[in-house]
């Protein structure tokens, strides 16, 4: 109330005068104080909640939880399967796993192998010739451990075991598209076709990846 009365009054000048500039003796606006004190109270509460209580996990803890959860939900069903032709073929037979493999490939592999897998600095992955791979499982090993003294970088510090298997399966699935090579690499040699698909695998491939949504 007092405030309103005062602002209705005429502004009072101070006796200050600097090169013709004068100053009013107006009070500071009430809303201005309110918001300012509001921000100070907010700050105190923020410290209380985020730093002095265990209520909120740190960013680092949040990420670790998310990673763990992703592992369980996404890869729970394939994580325990032993690596081998059977696992590779299982992954190669599932749309969902291949799609996930493609995403990883787009993120990590395209700069050397090209967006289509037709090669660039790295070898063409769509034909029957391979540089470091002789059998299906080798793709997994090469992705995991790298090859050619670091020319193919090891992914084991970047991707987890299941992700490596999934992207390896995607790479294996590219074979047979026979896209023209961007560059011929002399070290590449033709290898035997992948082993035949087992008769009944589809039951497993259903839920794959879908649970990660």
């Amino acid at each position: 109330m007092a405030e309103r009365k005062e602002s209705a009054k005429k502004d009072v000048l101070t006796d200050h005068m600097y090169d013709g500039i004068m100053e009013y003796d107006n009070p500071t606006p009430g809303w201005w104080h309110l918001i300012w004190f509001g921000t100070i109270v907010f700050s105190a509460l923020y410290i209380l909640v985020y730093h002095l209580s265990p209520m909120v996990p740190s960013h680092q803890q949040t990420v670790a939880t998310a990673m763990r959860k992703e592992m369980q939900e996404k890869f729970g069903e394939i994580a325990k399967l032993p690596m081998g032709d059977e696992k590779m073929l299982l992954l190669m037979g599932s749309e969902d796993w291949l799609k996930m493999g493609r995403t990883i490939f787009q993120n990590k592999c395209v700069i050397c192998h090209g967006p289509e897998g037709a090669g660039f600095v790295g070898p063409n992955l769509t034909d029957d010739k391979y540089k470091n791979v002789r059998k299906l499982e080798d793709i997994y090993t090469v992705v995991r451990d790298g090859a050619g003294n670091g020319q193919m970088p090891a992914q084991k510090t970047v991707l987890n075991d299941s992700q490596i298997a999934v992207v390896a399966a995607y790479v294996a699935s590219l074979r047979g598209q026979n896209k023209p090579s961007v560059k011929e690499l002399p070290e590449e040699v033709p290898i035997d076709p992948w082993p035949a698909k087992p008769a009944a695998a589809p039951a497993e491939s259903q839920g794959a990846g879908g649970s990660g949504a």
């Binding site: 009072v12 600097y18 107006n26 201005w32």
Partner: protein, 770 residues
């Protein structure tokens, strides 16, 4: 509220006492002439450098859509020109505008000529010389790679001399010689500017020279980041805010011919602003390896800064009460109104962006760039132009050549700003959302980084058009300036002013001590009430040196509280066993990375955010950067993060091809070609000096500091990488082994590998021993 009514405004009894005191203090009348020549010089430099800064800005904005516009030259590539643009805008354009404002208003507010004409001239020419040095060294690749503090150490020393020795001494000398008892609020802001910028500049620029135009920051990693952003943020605060508030407090009421809205608000918002601003720096480092307590301080003090900043806006806009009809007619006031409004917008947006959750989306995107330009073009640009248009008729003692043109400048400039900021707000939010988008399977929706860049091209074109409009406005101002100058009189009138000399006030004759108005019976209550009445502040306004010391105390506290624990408490930067210094060749590569300004487009900091860890790998740890003099965390991702580049992509031939022609490797890339690195030779002899300079900073280089050792190690490692390239089908060892690109590739291959190091190859093992 009514209880504070006597704040500085004196009651009847005091008023008469004050009048008597004024009469008693009157010394003999003294005559003096203001030095407007120096103002004319600074004003012209303002407009000249404005045009240069905007021009470079438009060029690099266009390079983002047309990478070929770097003309294939090292000197005109984005990484080298962007620092030139920021330095020109801040220190050349805004800097000269500040000096013009200070030199014009201080003389009049103090009723005296500047302390020394010689110092004025030294200041002017010294500052222009620094700008020319910057314009030569930055495109040539001489840089300390700390944003807005890129200039190398000899220029840094020059800046300190000109700022403190010429400008500072001249300004404080003028204050001491003033003929006005009290200092007006504009002068408080100038004092804060001079003191704080000196402090920031000196401490952030501390470096060990490793050559005439090469140095290493004395701080490393986390500490360097903290100091840099303490500086960087407060360059905004004390170079682009406080002096412009001072400018506003003088020129806005002058132009509006209205009294300032509230003296009390001036006092509160001045002191709260200078005290709180200094803490806010760490908000540039949210989610980084900086400890979270520091980042929280940065955020909270930014939030608490919102109202102190708005105090300035309120005082500016409410001063125009009763003068709004003039705003419609007077271009000067139009510039001021829009300028102050942009100040209000930016100082709301700043606290908002400093909230961690918002920052997790906005950081590293164009949102920050939009925010900066709302402030720089809207607030700094328009306040400076408003001042120039107000000054022109007064400085050249003739009418403004064309008011119409000034109006046109206002409208073109306003539309330019809006196009600029709105388009890249959209770009920033788009890209931020794309980085964190997941598809239905829980995979990154845009795993290939360049997809998120291609998306921005239409926005970038609109942005460049906005910039072009703003540049056009600058050119119109230049035209108006020159034509007004042409109409100047043959001889400037130099009116002689007279004012009584200021006599020291005997203690008894000073302002009477205020009496408490309370009926409380506690001393605390009475003391508090006397404090609230503010006579103490009125007294302080009569003591420039004491005032300066209080400002210094206010601005020192925040920095000390944040920096001291960061340097002294070990747990802030936990040591990691496997982290070793860069090999001599990697160090040389890092110097090239710095010199080419790679940090302007690439960050080296993976934040502990799920989408980011999915894209780039494990988040960055504080201990990984202990040998990074200076840190290279970056502030904008025009290209992808490189913190784990050595893990993600250690293929030498790929990097070789990519540096030669990025678009041959990635058709949508907007990175410039660095073809010259394929021809320029590594200066192997220089590597020894650089390793020694690093060793002086405590980096454990062991035997590598001995004559010839670092050089030999570098040559061996260069040979290894050249061999790798040859074996992968690239050019021969003989062609590549001594080229700069090899050193840069060595650095790329090293980035982020320390955490997951496997037993290293023999060459690396010797290099990393110790």
């Amino acid at each position: 509220m009514s209880k504070g009514a006597a704040w500085g405004g004196l009651t009847g009894a005091e008023r008469s006492a004050h009048a008597g005191e004024t009469a008693g203090q009157t010394g003999p009348l003294e005559e003096f002439v203001y030095d407007d020549k120096i103002v004319r010089m600074f004003a012209f430099a303002t407009v000249l450098w404005a045009v240069v800064a905007f021009l470079v800005g438009v060029l690099i904005a266009l390079q983002l859509t047309f990478p070929a516009l770097n003309l294939g030259l090292p000197y005109t590539s984005f990484g080298r020109l962007r620092p030139l643009h920021t330095n020109a805008a801040i220190f050349a354009f805004a800097g000269n505008a500040i000096f013009a404002a200070v030199y014009y208003s201080t003389q009049r507010l103090c009723k005296t000529r500047m302390f020394s004409d010689t110092l004025s001239k030294l200041h002017f020419w010294g500052w222009q010389f620094i700008i020319v040095c910057a314009a030569l060294t930055l495109p040539s690749g001489f840089t300390q790679a700390k944003e807005y503090a890129e200039l190398e150490w000899p220029i840094d020393i020059l800046i300190a001399v000109v700022w403190v020795g010429f400008f500072g001494v001249n300004f404080f000398g003028t204050l001491v010689r003033r003929r006005e008892r009290h200092m007006y609020v504009a002068l408080w802001f100038y004092i804060a500017t001079i003191v704080t910028v000196a402090m920031l500049h000196v401490f952030n620029s501390l470096a060990i020279p490793a050559g005439l135009l090469k140095s290493y920051s004395v701080y490393a990693g986390v500490q360097d980041a903290l100091i840099q952003w303490w500086y960087g943020h407060n360059a905004v605060a004390f170079f682009l805010t406080t002096p412009f508030l001072g400018l506003m407090y003088y020129f806005l009421p002058k132009a509006a011919e209205r009294p300032v809205f509230s003296y009390r608000l001036s006092i509160i918002h001045f002191w709260s602003l200078v005290f709180i601003y200094i803490w806010a720096g760490p908000h540039h480092l949210h989610y980084t390896a900086l400890p979270s307590w520091a980042s929280t301080l940065g955020m909270l003090f930014s939030v608490m800064l919102w109202m102190p900043s708005w105090g300035g806006m309120i005082n500016g806009l409410l001063t125009l009460r009763g003068a709004w009809h003039k705003v419609t007619q007077e271009p000067v006031l139009k510039f001021f109104v829009v300028g102050v409004t942009f100040y209000g917008m930016s100082t709301f947006e700043g606290p908002m962006l400093s909230v961690k959750l918002v920052n997790s989306l906005s950081h590293y995107t164009d949102w920050t760039i939009a925010h900066v330009h709302a402030g720089a073009l809207g607030w700094n640009g328009f306040m400076a132009f408003g001042m120039i248009y107000w000054l022109l008729p007064r400085l050249f003692q003739t009418e403004l050549w064309s008011k119409k043109l000034a109006n046109a400048h206002f409208w073109i400039g306003t539309i330019g700003i809006l196009m600029y900021i709105l388009s890249i707000y959209a770009a920033g939010i788009t890209q931020g959302l794309m980085w964190r988008a997941f598809d239905a399977q829980g995979n990154l929706a845009f795993p290939d980084f360049v997809e998120t860049v291609t998306q921005l091209m239409p926005f970038y074109l609109i942005r460049a058009t906005g910039g072009l409009l703003f540049l056009t406005g600058g050119l119109l101002c230049m035209l108006n300036f020159v034509m007004t100058w042409k109409n100047r009189p043959a001889r400037y009138e130099e009116p002689v002013h007279a004012a009584p000399a200021l006599r020291p006030i005997p203690a008894v004759a000073g302002l009477a001590d205020t009496e408490s108005r309370l009926h409380a019976n506690t001393n605390l209550g009475h003391t508090g009430d006397k404090f609230l009445q503010g006579t103490w502040h009125r007294r302080l306004e009569g003591k420039p040196i004491k005032f300066m010391i209080w400002v210094l105390i206010a601005v020192a506290i925040g920095g000390l509280v944040e920096a001291i624990p960061m340097f002294l408490v070990r747990s802030n930067v936990p040591t990691i066993e496997s982290v070793t210094p860069y090999t001599p060749l990697e160090l040389a590569g890092r110097d090239i990375y710095i010199s080419e300004g790679c940090y302007n487009c690439h960050s080296q900091m993976i934040r502990p955010i799920f989408a980011e860890v999915k894209r780039y790998g494990d988040y960055s740890k504080p201990g990984e950067f202990v040998y990074d003099h200076p840190f290279q965390w970056g502030s904008r991702r025009i290209g992808p993060d490189l913190a784990r580049e050595g893990v993600i992509n250690p293929n030498s031939l790929w990097h070789y091809n990519h540096f030669r022609d990025p678009r041959a490797v990635n058709p949508n890339s907007i990175m410039p070609s660095f073809a010259w690195l394929l021809h320029d030779k590594i200066d192997f002899a220089q590597i020894q000096t650089r390793v020694r300079a690093m060793a002086m900073l405590g980096v454990p280089y062991g035997e590598a500091v001995e004559e010839g050792v670092a050089q030999a190690m570098a040559e061996i490692q260069a040979g290894d990488i050249a061999l790798e390239i040859e074996q992968a089908g690239g050019p021969s060892v003989a062609e590549t082994r001594d080229k700069k690109v090899i050193a840069l590739i060595a650095y790329m291959k090293r980035l982020g590998t320390d955490l997951t190091k496997t037993p290293a190859a023999p060459a690396e093992a010797t290099a990393n021993a110790e």
